[in-house]
Amino acid sequence: MAAVYDTYGSLAYGLAARTLGQTAEAEDVVQEAFLAIWRQAARLDPARGVRSYLLTIVHNKAIDRLRKRARRPELVLDETAPLVADAPDPVEFAEALENRELVRTALRRLPEEQRRTVEMAYFGGLTTGEVAEQLKIPVGTVKSRLRLALGHMKRALGTT
C-alpha cells in the first residue's frame, strides 16, 4: 500500500484538489479511494491497471462531495463502468491513453468552448442541464460539445 501511495498519491491528491481545493475533504477522498482500491483488489481487472481505478474512484468521490456541498442532487453512478472491463478488446488508442503528456496535449488543443464544457461537466461535476444553465446556452449544445471534445481527443490520441 505504501508503494502504491508513493507512486500515485500526488496524482490522486492533485485530482481531488482540482475539484475540492487543497482541503481536508480532498484528503478524505484520497484516503477513501486508496482503501477502496485495496478492498476491491480481488475484483480488479489487472489489464486496466491500478491508476485508472484509483483516479476514477477519487474523481467520483470528489464530485459526490462537491455536489453535496452545493446541495445538488447526487449523480447516479454507472456501477458497471469504472470497475468492470466490458470492452471485449482494448481500444486502439489505449497505449496513448496511458501517456499523460499525450492526454494533456490533446485536451489543451481542444477548441476553447469544448475545453470549458469538459472542465465544467467533468471536473466541475455538473450535468449537461446544469452546464447549459450556467453558460446560458441550449442543453443540446452542451451535449454536442462533449461529443465533439471526446471525438477530438480520440483523433489526437489515435494519430500518435
Binding site: 500500500m1 501511495y5 498519491g9 500526488s10 496524482l11 491528491y13 492533485g14 485530482l15 482540482r18 487543497q22 484528503e27 484520497v30 484516503q31 486508496f34 482503501l35 485495496w38 478492498r39 476491491q40 480481488a42 475484483r43 480488479l44 481487472d45 489487472p46 489489464a47 491497471g49 485508472s52 483516479l55 476514477t56 477519487v58 449523480l75 447516479v76 454507472d78 463502468a81 472491463a85 466490458d86 470492452a87 471485449p88 478488446d89 481500444v91 489505449a94 491513453l97 499523460r100 492526454v103 494533456r104 485536451l107 461537466a121 467533468y122 455538473l126 450535468t127 449537461t128 452542451v142 451535449k143 454536442s144 462533449l146 461529443r147 471534445a149 471526446l150 481527443m153 480520440k154 490520441l157
Partner: protein, 229 residues
C-alpha cells in the same frame, strides 16, 4: 422515456461521462441494454473519460495523509487477522492454517470487505463444520494448487505454490466455464493464498497460465495447471 439509436449516439459522450440528467441517463442505459450497436463506441468513450483525470497537475499531499492512510490500512489488516471474540478457535486443518497466514489475512480482509460478510458469520460458519465447502487439490511437477470454495458466500480461495517466474511474467488464474472463453480471476504470486469474490457456478475447472506482467484479457499461453472442480 425511450430513445432511438440516433438520439443515443448524440447522448453517448455525456452518458459515458455520467453527466446526463437522471432520466436521460436511464433512457440511454435502457437503449444500450437492447441495442449492441453502440458497444464499441461506448467502450472508446469510457476509455477516453477514464483518461481525463490525467490532465491534472500533481499536488504533493500533506505528510499526515500518508501516515493516516497507512494507519487505516493496518487497522483493516488487524481486524481481519483478529476476528472479534470467537467462542473457540477455528478448526485446525486447511482453514486453520490459512487463517494464521498473514497473506491470507490480507486476502480475506479484501473479500470480507468486498462482499460484506461479517466476521461473526464467518466464525459461526467455521465452527459449524461447513458443509458448503468444496476443496480440490492439484499437486504435480512442482506445482500445487488448492482450490477452496465457500459455496454459500461465493468466495474462492486459491492456495498456490509454484516456481518463481521472470520479473516480466505473472501467474494468472482463470475460471473455465462449461462453455465459452476462460474468465480471468486475477493475477497470482507464485506462493500464497489468494481469495476471490466470485461464483464458481457453471465453472468446470480452474486453470493457471503464465502471462506478461499485469495479466492478460485472455490466456496467451497454455495453462500450467488445470484443476477440475
Amino acid at each position: 422515456m425511450t430513445i432511438e439509436c440516433e438520439e443515443a449516439v448524440e447522448l453517448l459522450a455525456a452518458y459515458a461521462m455520467n453527466r446526463l440528467e437522471r432520466e436521460e441517463q436511464a433512457a440511454v442505459s435502457e437503449h444500450l441494454a437492447s441495442c449492441r450497436l453502440h458497444d464499441a463506441e461506448l467502450a472508446e468513450l469510457r476509455a477516453l473519460v477514464a483518461g481525463l483525470p490525467l490532465d491534472v497537475d500533481d499536488v504533493a499531499p500533506p505528510a499526515r495523509l500518508r501516515s493516516s492512510i497507512l494507519a487505516a490500512f493496518d487497522g483493516e489488516i488487524r481486524r481481519a487477522d483478529k476476528p472479534a471474540a470467537p467462542a473457540r478457535q477455528p478448526r485446525a486443518g486447511v482453514l486453520g492454517r490459512l487463517w494464521r497466514s498473514p497473506r491470507f489475512a490480507y486476502a480475506l480482509a479484501a473479500v470480507l470487505a468486498a462482499i460484506s460478510i461479517g466476521l461473526v458469520v464467518w466464525n459461526v460458519s467455521l465452527q459449524s463444520g461447513r458443509e458448503d465447502l468444496l476443496v480440490r487439490t492439484y499437486d504435480r511437477g512442482g506445482m500445487t494448487l488448492r482450490v477452496i470454495y465457500l459455496q454459500d458466500e461465493k468466495v474462492a480461495i486459491l492456495e498456490v505454490s509454484m516456481p518463481a517466474l521472470r520479473p516480466d511474467q505473472t501467474y494468472q488464474a482463470w475460471k473455465i466455464p462449461e462453455s465459452g472463453a476462460p474468465i480471468s480471476l486475477g493475477v497470482l504470486e507464485s506462493q500464497g493464498a489468494f481469495a476471490f469474490d466470485t461464483s464458481l457456478e457453471g465453472i468446470k475447472a480452474i486453470a493457471i497460465s503464465v502471462e506478461p506482467l499485469g495479466g492478460s484479457l485472455q490466456p496467451t499461453t497454455a495453462p500450467v495447471v488445470v484443476q477440475e472442480l
